[in-house]
Amino acid sequence: MLNPTDAQLEQYFWGERLSPEMTQICERRVFSDPELLHEYHQVSRLRVRFKELREELSAFEEEKRHRWFLRSLREEPIPRIVVIDVEDAINSLLRGQRVTRMLRAEIDRRLGRAPRKHEVADMDSRDRRVMSSQSASMPPPNFELSQEFLLNDLEPPPKRPPMSKRERIQARYPEVIDYLRRYHRRLWERWVDEGGYSPVLKTLETGRKHAPLMAALELINLAARSNVRRK
């Protein structure tokens, strides 16, 4: 009888695909050798724990999945309206401070370049209407009102031509919109609880490599907060 190699036995232990003949050979070999049988049971027990561990570690909470999704988008990942909100949030946070070149470059890299004031004036008039309605009619930080506002915001107004820019954004980034809508209140509350302090900008300026990514995420969160904060 052909003897299986160590590698084949190892594959058999771990349940990897082997030819039916080789599986049978390994089976006979393992069950005729007490030491191999012991190893087989050890691997089986390990596999049970590994399976549990995999299930636990791979479980994604919905919120985390969305948060992660946001962070994984890159080139022009965020609707321009949100980018403008980011800009607003940064400006309000940095009031009295100078935005460093590195900070600006990092924000632009991660979020796409935010339109400057004069560019905002050239925006699609519909977008501008939506933005100004956000600024003018922003309700107080009340969950129901915020939700209602956001839900209204998600629904295209009547008589809008098909697939306006806003609808295209919503179609393309449903997760982003969903995320902002669903976690709006929590972000607002956290912002209030923390007294408006955010270490993010400092991290962005001084951090290396991974820190800017974290900071970019926080900037997106700031955008959501700024939606509520503006009145």
Binding site: D6, E10, Q11, Q42, L46, L53, W68, A211
Partner: protein, 153 residues
Amino acid sequence: MYKPPWYEDELVKAMPDLMGFAKLRAPNEHVAEDLVQETFYKMLALDRDLPRKQVRPYAFGVLRNLITDYFRSPTRSIIWDEEVEASSDLSLELQRVVKALGSMKEECQDVLSLAIFEHTQREIADVLDKPIGTIGSWLQRCRRKLGEVLGLC
């Protein structure tokens, strides 16, 4: 570079396991998320064609290299010193497994972590860029050691 429509699908499918792998190897959940995000960033910017079946192992390879780089980076302490360790929701038994894994040599951590996420020996060999025979013997040695630590002998 053009990526076929299935490319992102494959990445998204692998996402939970990539995150799980990162959580297993990174010092905390924030770092894990960061590293997975960086992995996606690299995978989306990848300037080469990959066969569909290789997308997942390749992504794991990228992530594993990022994890290695992370631990070698002299700046990591500056960035993450103030981070609080995420509290683990794992059962005590699984925490034991994670702790035991963390105490093993890097090669053992690599092969066993990949085995947890159901990679075949061939895939582990591809991810770690080692001959399959080497992976077989590492796997055998490392799981024996892990079995001993966990009292499964």
